[in-house]
Symmetry: C2
Subunit: 539 residues, 2 copies
């Protein structure tokens, strides 16, 4: 034996007991986990707690107190009391000095030391979110509804990389989306972007799959998308988007089916036609007007993008921008007049009954009756949507109280595949974000709060029975029962509190006397009923 | 009426009928969706199909045939036949000219034109994946198992942003992970990175939540992680990782519970202790050796990172690197000798029975018996894991045939929170990737192929009954039945083929005669049984 009998300096440090409550059993030393604290406590010398961000070549930590000004979110405490910030879930900096007394945590060093502490920002990067358990349960509830509705409609789930080639999103129509790309060059000098939407990836995959997939394709996805937007209240830089797309169906039954699925979704989560409506139009309306004025087709998408800004920028600017894409004053006036039309009859009077715009819209409204969602939809020529690739029917879901932005939007994009070098296929789809719908549910008092529910809590009454409790937990889990196993020796009061927090249905106690007989104690928490049961008979 | 009677040039184009099969009804014009094709067909002038990538300020498309050499994956066809590439799911470029005859697609222009076509790479960026339906079903199956096991153990699901502050990952111990960061500066000049692992985000969120969460925290996550690695067969730059973490439990019961959950997962998917084992050690073993030689604790993490390279780089280099961090020759020799130990008895002989390393390991092996997974685990001092922050027990799951890399890994990291400026809390957790386990399942012939299953297919026998079919589909969906609604007028042969593809259980036919009586035809596809049923009685 080379060594071992000599007492190691490391094991000689005196334990600092951690009492989570008065009755807690003695816990093993934790101070050992943070020996630097001893240094602080004994020397009271200003020393940084940590400083290993950003600078990869800086001298060793223990020698140099460093302050970084790189990330403006970092908090630098000059006095722990003066700068103490209240804890909030959203964009506040947590001043850790306020948490020194947390039970179960290791005490902070004396405050003289904190003057020099360097902290990582504990908030997610600006515009992004954490999903702590309660938020995650809500997200799962929402996504589950997205998925179940998609499956009711026979759609298959797909996904694509969050990181795509930037080329997929560089379209020439002047879309807002292009200036909001989260793009960068990777270590292999490829221009890449965090996807701002899912449709280009879908188109890419459809082309790649070629003949190996049968038409029509009916795919759905729920994926995170990124846009570097100016941050305003409730507007983030990432959101999840539910997409459903139909590839290979030229008929307007495709759009009708898509809107039906969104309506089905709304109904499931308690939203009615009194809360939400769909404004529906067709880009072919604009196309017919522009064709009448012999505006070249290459300018069509650009004109649509400009028109989509109506209501966001002043009408005079809209007109100016339209003039810049070589539209005549007459064309612009006529266009803007057509855009005010709110009824299909009036549209038909304007455009005549022979064009595809009117006939497809009429067919869609007729199908809506059969699907049973006529009350949800209305014609509105002002809807054009902000993406360049739409070619036919376009629609958006809106809050009837007018407080919120568009809830979802979609339409037909029959020519997207050829812009990527593929053969065109008739296609339609929609995107439905996770942000506005949550706002709407809050507004209407419909936001659920899915509770945490863990069926069983298993606890040993004696430190020596920890293994026995593990065995009981394993038996129950083997039978498909969810079990929160108490992993430390804790007083019963603590266990009951935890049982309440996790909404456990029953508490299973492993005590010496019962265990010797192969039994455990069971308490049904809702009724207070108690009994003993053989471990093998636990169900 | 300003205009409308004049036939619009756009609506005059002659339809090009698309016949998906001989019996298909006439489909509405689709050529209208791609009028440029007419130009190609009539002029045979070389014109680019698309060229709007990368260059935002290039002249209008129609004037200039452009070739880009920016992305090396782009394919440039000089002759459609000479360069035709076979379609493969992985990293091949799809030459669209080979797909001209696809039914349902729009015909390609004459091949003279293709010489100038510009295509977007249809593959996902290097190192990333698409999830077409069959891959997505597999991913869902795997993730569902991750989630169900986590829930059996009473863990709550959480998630964090994919994009985090780079500062979270810049540790000074010389980890491989630091050089593999997908990092960049965002438009607001923040240094950000696609997360390479989940634990730093967890630590950040735990600090942020402070006292508002009850201890112990038991959280799990399944999230995508990114590492810019050298690409070799089966090694990608993104993978999904299942994490389970316990915060606030200093006892080794935490680690025992975590390993139990992984074993439960393996058993569920058909993997046994004959396929997989866990190598278990403790960083405290090394710490005790280094303390004996009075190596300062600040060098501990660095030494661990170097030791973790054993087996990957030659032993002489390991020794050299250890000498560079100021370890004496004696210390290195002793360290390397300790690392060869494969039994707890031998370890105890070496280190003595008083240290925490031995006592915690013994406790863990004793608990494993109670949990019932003794056969899965073995002591192996050479396991140290490659992340800087581990402080105690470390473990990794390995393929007993030795063909694959580590399947999962984890351990105790009691001091991570203080490196971010928080108060330390005892913590342990593991990461389990989605790549190696799939390889293992393939190796063992255990990879499932979850089939597509859509209960019903609904089809009208008459174009005029499309609305009726929609109504029938809505009735069924309202009753929770999944329905693939045939959205076009298709011959029965086509419908049966689709029914087979989607594994439909029954086919519901909407024909005029039956519909007039409020009835539909039902065919049970497995038995061939046919009957009529009133729409309201459909279940």
């Amino acid at each position: 034996m080379l060594f071992g009998k000599k007492p190691l300096p490391w094991t000689e440090k005196k334990p600092l007991p951690i009492c989570r409550c008065a009755m807690a059993a003695a816990t093993p030393s934790l101070l050992i986990l943070h020996p630097r604290l001893i240094l602080f406590a004994t020397t009271l010398r200003p020393t940084p707690l940590i400083c290993h961000q950003f600078s990869l070549h800086s001298p060793p930590l223990s020698r140099l107190p460093v302050r970084f000004a790189h990330n403006k979110h970092h908090s630098f405490s000059t006095s722990p009391l003066a700068t103490a910030t209240p804890l909030s879930a959203d964009n506040s900096n947590v001043n850790e000095t306020t948490r020194a007394g947390r039970s179960g945590s290791i005490s902070s060093p004396p405050h003289q030391v904190v003057d020099y502490s360097q902290k990582v920002d504990v908030n997610p990067p600006k515009g992004t979110r954490d999903f702590p358990p309660e938020e995650m349960r809500l997200r799962n509830w929402l996504f589950q509804n997205f998925k179940e509705v998609s499956q009711l409609f026979g759609f298959e789930e797909v996904d694509y990389p969050v990181l795509e080639s930037e080329a997929l999103y560089i379209r020439k129509a002047g879309e807002e989306i292009r200036d909001q790309l989260y793009c960068f060059e990777d270590r292999g000098n490829r221009r890449v972007a965090l996807r701002p939407e899912l449709t280009p990836s879908l188109a890419r995959l459809v082309i790649q799959k070629g003949k190996s997939v049968a038409l029509p394709i009916k795919w759905f996805a729920v994926g995170q998308c990124w846009r570097y937007e100016r941050m305003t209240r409730g507007r983030r830089r990432e959101h999840y988007q539910w997409n459903m797309d139909i590839i290979g169906v030229p008929d307007v039954t495709g759009e009708a089916e898509l809107i039906s699925s969104i309506v089905t979704f709304f109904k499931r989560i308690g939203i009615t036609e009194k809360d939400v409506g769909f404004k529906i139009s067709s880009r072919k309306v604009l196309q017919e007007v522009l064709s009448f004025y012999s505006v070249p087709e290459s300018l069509f998408a650009k004109a649509c993008i400009i028109i989509d800004k109506m209501g966001k920028i002043p009408m005079e600017e809209i007109k100016k921008e339209l003039e810049l894409v070589e539209l005549s004053k007459d064309a612009i006036e006529d266009l803007l007049q057509v855009l005010t039309i709110k009824s299909l009859t009036e549209l038909e009077e304007k455009l005549g009954g022979t064009g595809e715009a009117v006939s497809e819209l009429k067919q869609l409204f007729s199908l809506a009756e059969k699907f049973g969602y006529s009350e949800w939809i209305q014609f509105d020529a002002s809807v054009v949507r902000g993406l360049a690739y739409y070619t036919g029917i376009v629609f958006e879901g809106f809050d009837r109280e007018g407080k919120l932005r568009a809830i979802c939007g979609g339409g037909r994009y029959d020519r997207l595949l050829s812009t990527f070098g593929g053969d065109d296929l008739p296609a339609c789809g929609f995107g439905f974000g996770d942000a506005v719908i949550i706002e709407l549910l809050k507004e209407r008092g419909l936001l659920p709060e899915p509770p945490l529910e863990i069926e069983n809590i298993v606890c040993s009454l004696d430190p020596n029975l920890q293994g026995a409790a593990a065995m009981v937990a394993s038996v129950l889990r083997g039978k498909g029962q969810c079990v929160d196993l108490v992993l430390e020796n804790k007083p019963l009061k603590w266990v009951f509190k935890r049982a309440t927090r996790i909404n456990a249905r029953r508490l299973i106690l492993v005590g010496s006397a019962e265990w010797e007989r192969g039994m455990v104690g069971v308490k049904i928490l809702s009724t207070g009923e108690q009994y003993e049961v053989n471990v093998d008979e636990l169900q």
